[in-house]
Amino acid sequence: MSLPGLLDPVALDAEPPAASLIRSVYVHAPFCARRCGYCDYAVTVAQTGDVAAWLAGLAGEVTALEDEGLFVLDSTLDTLYVGGGTPSLLGPEAMAGLGELLSYDRLEHADLEWTAEANPESLTPEVAQAWREAGVNRISLGLQTFHEPALAWMGRLHGPAEGVAAVENIRRAGFENYSVDLIFGLPERLDRPWSDDLDGVLRMEPPHVSLYGLSVEAKTPLGRSVAEGKETPASETRYAEEYLEAAERLTGAGYEHYEVSSFARPGFQALHNSVYWMGLPYLGLGNGSHSYLHPRRRWNVSDWDEYVRLTGDGQLPMEGEEVLEPVSVRLERVWLALRTRRGIRHDSLPAEACDLVRRWVAADLAKCDAGICRPTPLGWLSVDRLTLDLDGVL
């Protein structure tokens, strides 16, 4: 499995990709058994997902899109990603239903990456098995940590043992490709043993690890308790130390740190996410999802009931869209290019930018090799700042 140009360095002065047919689809599964304290996603709390309503909504949206004719799917897809929410809450049957909805003609080929997200408590052997049979070939597991108090603090519904069991289920069902999510930067008072968690993950030897820093969003319960002074986020020093330690240990264990938050064994890069980072077109289905076909980006209503109502009426569930100005396209490209290991070609940079890059190298924020500049993990810690500095001299 791969994508054309996946490993090529970025030329910042290249033309954006010409509009084309869409070969990547994201589908949002909005249901969660419980909302986590830090989550600001489009999520509907329910003990089980309403699979029928979900598929009906998606079917309505696909029909409305076909009527509109702007976002058109190609005859085969490269990637399909079912995220959430908690897709595993939808139970065993949902993925087959989705495959039929999108048409198996598009999906039944050897190069497809079909990922579904799962949480340990709902990824039962039956679900894993049924998904495998439906065509899902990659699972992204919300493991987060093995530390019980931290899981409880986050409001997760699984314990450490269920995390281990879920990885077992994934393997037994025959998935070679899967990813585990690890969260870092938790409040220091939780005494979460970061090194132990890294040990635990390395022992599992997953082909892919996603590493996310806890971010405090204002409109979440966590954001409110921080604002009220009831919770103290990890210090910046702690945050940076955990990130750099993870980068060092995972890289040392043979993982490639190929994107700010992503580590993979060779050949196991997340293709669907790479589509986002490469600026390729994608279609988002479901409430709160985003679609992109240069230069247009649009997003759906985030409210589930509203989504059901609009798709039921045969309307597009669109909330808004933007047509990107060249200056925004450039900013996104600089930012996304700096986020990945693909690197930026020196010969696509003006002289002033080369001076800037030299200063980065001197400060250990980037490395240059064979005419290609790539941020170091230290540089990735402040990738937004690097982005603005570089964009400012283009």
Partner: protein
């Protein structure tokens, strides 16, 4: 015209005591303006003046009054600005009069400006006609105010008139008193021309047009005139008096008040207090009292957007045509770019100029901390006037620095004496004495450094007296004190816009507060940034802005890109407004927050 039938007078009052309303009633009662022409407070034509209820520019209006016996009198009502910043202009307009109607609010009584204006009027030997106004209002105590004024002026209480200008009550007796009590002007019609300029305004077609009071001789079209302080000669194109507009006349004779048009380039040629002379027959003596107007308060004005520099310069040039007391010279700041160091008569004048630049010319400005003009004695014995901290020479060359000291008069209810005393003490004030105006109101006198007044003194004074205090001051002299220049170093580089001249005793608190505030405003950089407040080589306060460690290294999926890009774009906007000082980026907001008034 017979001099006997001319009366030149003005109205003086504390702000809001009813001066403009009374002027309106006089215009109505003399049928100078009919109802259709009548607007509220016709003399205050400038929008800003109307909003602030104060008179900035002077005006003179001619009225004809028919006395009860049938005799006709020409009244020239000369309006005066009502603020301490314009004391000199007030004194010149008073010099054009023989009498003054002193208006006092029946409930508020004598206030700070009542006194300062009264003293100016007495200095000018004017006949005072005291009037208690607003007698219709609840809370009015006319009898008590009459006693108070009688004490102050040394006159009989029943010579003090009562009025309600708003209701049109008591207007006729005021007009009669002007005839009876104000002496007619004197002057020699056959002597060479001497006329006093008490105001000047700029007309885009006819140039600068001075308002004048003829003392001797006559001025008429075709004559060539010149001035005491300016040697240029101009041919008079028109003379006349003001009513609702200009009313041309064949000539202006002694005792008369009016205007002269002579295609004069700018109001800086028609300086208030100067004497208009006949170029062909120059009088030997000039009229007394002319002074160069000297700015008291200085500040750097910089366009927020550096691209607006040319527009800003044009706006200042245009404003200057109309406001001779505005001074400015180009100034460059490392931090703020190109701008002007401007001199103002006082804080109100500064605010007015800022607002006019904003409203009439649409220029968005950053104003630096205002300061006064210091006199610096150098070790080589020479003296230097310094109006910007940046212009202060190296310490090794300075023998001493002296600063302007004012005599301040503060009126407030007696319960706030403690607060006022404390404030003035904190501001290095020297208490001179106090005097009860009645059982509740007291007048305190202090010597204060002007520099302490220009830094939000007035707001503090109002705050400490629940808004009741009134302040007035006049320049006393310059005095040597232990004044130092405080600099702020960012990573070792001095940032000129943050420098200030300050008394040594106050420098420590100021320096600590300043670096603390800057620490909050300067975003963290890739490296630690040191902030220091220094006097010479001595560091009096320091702190560090820690190095920037992280952005949120979060996920980035399809739905995150737009939101995240918008955040980046917002940061990009902020970054654009950053000023690079050495290796450190300082946001404009940091300059604004530190430099702008009212928040120290």
């Amino acid at each position: 015209m017979l001099l006997d039938h001319i009366r030149n007078f003005c109205i003086i009052a504390h702000i809001d005591h009813g001066k403009s309303t009374l002027a309106d009633r006089l215009l109505e009662a003399t049928h100078t303006l009919d109802q259709r022409e009548m607007r509220e407070q016709v003399l205050d034509t400038n929008v800003l003046e109307r909003e602030r209820g104060i008179t900035i520019k002077l005006h003179a209006v001619r009225m004809v009054y028919v006395a009860p016996g049938g005799a006709e009198y020409v009244f020239n009502l000369i309006d005066t600005p009502g603020h301490v910043d314009f004391t000199y202009e007030v004194s010149r307009s008073l010099a054009a009069c023989e009498g003054a109607v002193l208006v006092v609010d029946a409930s508020q009584g004598v206030q700070a400006q009542t006194l300062s204006n009264l003293f100016l009027a007495l200095d000018a030997d004017l006949e005072i006609i005291p009037v208690i106004n607003k007698i219709d209002l609840p809370g009015a105590e006319p009898a008590r105010r009459q006693e108070e004024l009688a004490d102050l002026l040394g006159v009989e209480p029943d010579s003090i008139l009562l009025s309600s200008a708003k209701e049109g009550v008591g207007i006729e007796p005021i007009l009669e008193a002007v005839v009876d009590r104000v002496p007619p002007p004197e002057g020699d019609p056959s002597a060479p021309l001497r006329a006093l300029i008490f105001d000047s305004f700029y007309d885009q077609y006819q140039g600068a047009i001075p308002s004048i009071r003829v003392v001797d001789g006559a001025v008429r079209p075709g004559m060539e005139i010149t001035f005491g302080a300016v040697t240029d000669r101009y041919e008079v194109t028109e003379v006349g008096f003001l009513r609702l507009g200009r009313v041309p006349q064949p000539e202006l004779l002694p005792g008369e008040v009016g205007y002269v048009a002579a295609a004069i380039k700018a109001v800086s040629h028609t300086r208030v207090g100067d004497t208009v002379l006949d170029a062909a027959n120059r009088a030997e003596d000039l009229l007394d009292g002319y002074q160069e107007v000297h700015p008291m308060v200085f500040a750097g004005l910089y366009p927020t957007d550096t691209d607006d520099y040319e527009a800003f310069k044009d706006a200042l040039d245009k404003l200057k045509l109309n406001d001779a007391s505005l001074h400015y010279v180009p100034e460059t700041s490392v931090a703020l770019g190109f701008g002007f160091r401007c001199g103002f008569l006082g804080l109100l004048h500064m605010e007015i100029v800022q607002e006019r630049l904003d409203r009439e010319f649409g220029v968005d400005l950053i104003t630096t901390v205002p300061n006064v003009e210091y006199k610096v004695l150098l070790t080589d014995g020479s003296e230097l006037a310094v109006e910007s901290p940046a212009a202060l020479p190296d310490r090794s060359r300075i023998e001493s620095i002296s600063e302007p000291i004012v005599k301040a008069r503060i009126l407030c209810p007696s319960e706030y004496i403690g607060n006022v005393q404390k404030l003035c003490h904190d501001r290095r004030g020297v208490f001179l004495g106090m005097q009860y105006l009645d059982t509740e109101r007291v007048e305190l006198e202090f010597e204060l450094p002007l520099a302490e007044i220009v830094l939000d003194f007035y707001d503090r004074l109002k705050g400490g007296t629940r808004g009741y205090a009134a302040l007035d001051y006049e320049l006393l002299d310059y005095r040597v004190d232990d004044l130092v220049k405080l600099d702020v170093l960012v990573n070792g580089d001095p940032v000129d816009a943050f420098s200030i001249i300050i008394h040594r005793e106050k420098s420590y608190d100021y320096g600590r507060d300043l670096v603390r505030r800057l620490k909050k405003l300067i975003p963290r950089q890739q490296f630690a940034v040191s902030l220091q407040a220094t006097i010479g080589t001595q560091v009096i306060a320091r702190t560090n802005v820690k190095a920037f460690r992280k952005n949120v290294t979060g996920k980035c999926y399809g739905g995150d890109i737009t939101r995240k890009r918008k955040l980046l774009e917002k940061q990009k906007e902020g970054k654009k407004r950053m000023k690079q000082v050495g290796s450190v980026e300082i946001p404009q907001e940091a300059f604004m927050a530190v430099l702008q008034l009212g928040d120290s």
